[in-house]
């Protein structure tokens, strides 16, 4: 069975645990967590990932900057990125999607939504 590696970039341990908890219900998924955008970039440089979840509002480097850097990196150009935001505002989503994010999740997070998005982007039936 193939293994999918998912990176969760989120400064809130509660959110990281929540997303991780939801994703662990998918078989063959390995999860790596990062505290912020810079930590996320370090993890991305160390190994290859199949899916990235990133918060938008984070210290040091925010999620939008991370999306921009990931999309300009040849190795991760085609890796699906999902942004997590507190605002349900259209503008915030559009910024993330314009930068190359594949999908978005708004807080409060619903585990079923995380699973649906992950399944869709990893092509898991």
């Amino acid at each position: 069975m193939s293994e999918y590696k998912v990176l969760i970039v989120e400064d809130s341990p509660t959110m990281r645990q929540l997303i991780s908890f939801a994703l662990k219900r998918l078989r063959g998924v390995r999860i790596v967590e990062a505290n912020d955008g810079v930590d996320g970039l370090k993890k991305l440089a160390a190994e290859r990932f199949d899916l990235i979840f990133t918060d938008i509002n984070m210290p040091i480097m925010d999620g939008l900057k991370l999306v921009s850097l990931v999309r300009n990196d040849a190795s991760y150009k085609h890796t699906p990125v999902v942004v997590i935001t507190t605002e349900g505002a259209q503008e915030d989503r559009e910024r993330a999607l314009a930068l190359g994010a594949n999908d978005y999740i708004t807080k409060p997070i619903q585990p079923t939504r995380i699973l649906d998005v992950a399944k869709g982007l990893l092509n898991i039936v």
């Binding site: 809130s12 509660t14 929540l18 507190t86 409060p108 585990p111």
Partner: protein
């Protein structure tokens, strides 16, 4: 010259011959009739056998008809069972969705509980409570107010979406927040979607209490734009926060105090032993 007697004899001979011929013809006819009757008999016997066979076929048909009826009944039973299984399947599917939702809710509660007790640092505890309220409940503007028992006032120690200066101190028992602290009973505004500008109106007030002792109040003023109403799990989270957040705050405060005291005592001991 034939005599009269000869003629008579000849005539009688002729007559006898005629009778004999007729007898022969009659015998032949009888034999033919006999043959025809025997043939007819064979035909009738054959016909009877066919008839008997037909009777046998009818029994077989009757048996088959009975079998068909029995199978029809069996089919109806099976169809009934299939319908029953389908209904059960539908029930299971509904139950699965409910369990899935319950599982998600429990996961949220577990994470909230786990995070609340993951540290003894007072500031970290407040940060975790803030994260739970944002990420799991979906509040945009809220304050964590703790009771200062010396002056009998509730003061904001952490806020989100508002500055601490925006949240005035509240006398114990005064207004909605003060009453929640006094009675230990949660307050929920009738219309959570009411977002009219003006004075800060509490939408939800949750007492933070250890057993009957209220140490503070969690006050939510505004929900995130996409959050239009509270879900069942939100009320469970409120209940969890009311108890666990209070315990976490109380423990971390005690720990911080004891750390500070320990540090002071250690300082004195260092001075004495120098």
């Amino acid at each position: 010259m034939p005599t009269e007697e000869d003629k008579w004899l000849h005539s009688r001979g002729e007559e006898f011959l005629q009778v004999f011929k007729k007898g022969a013809e009659f015998t032949q006819e009888l034999m033919k009739e006999n043959e025809r009757l025997r043939f007819r008999l064979v035909e009738l016997e054959e016909s009877q056998r066919n008839l008997e066979r037909t009777v046998e076929d009818t029994d077989e048909n009757r048996r088959l008809l009975q079998r068909i009826e029995s199978l029809e009944r069996e089919k109806e039973d099976i169809l009934g069972r299939i319908r029953q299984v389908e209904e059960e399947n539908q029930d299971f599917a509904t139950r699965y969705v409910e369990i899935e939702q319950e599982n998600n809710n429990l996961a949220n509660l577990y994470i909230a509980s786990y995070q609340l007790h993951s540290t003894l640092d007072f500031r970290e505890v407040l940060q975790i409570i803030t994260e739970i309220i944002i990420n799991l409940i979906g509040a945009e503007e809220f304050a964590i107010m703790l009771l200062d028992e010396k002056i009998n006032e509730l003061q904001a120690v952490a806020t989100e979406g508002l500055s601490r200066e925006d949240i005035p101190s509240v006398k114990f028992g005064s207004g909605i927040v003060g009453q929640v602290a006094k009675t230990g009973e949660s307050y929920f505004a009738e219309d959570v979607a009411d977002d009219s500008p003006g004075e800060l109106k509490p939408m939800v007030c949750i007492p933070l209490q250890i057993k009957e002792h209220v140490i503070g109040v969690l006050v939510i003023y505004k929900l995130l734009i996409q959050k239009t109403k509270f879900a069942d799990v939100d009320y469970e989270l409120f209940t969890l926060l009311a108890g666990h957040a209070a315990t976490a705050i109380f423990s971390s405060r005690l720990y911080s105090d004891s750390e500070r005291k320990l540090s002071t005592i250690q300082g004195f001991l260092d001075l004495l032993t120098r």
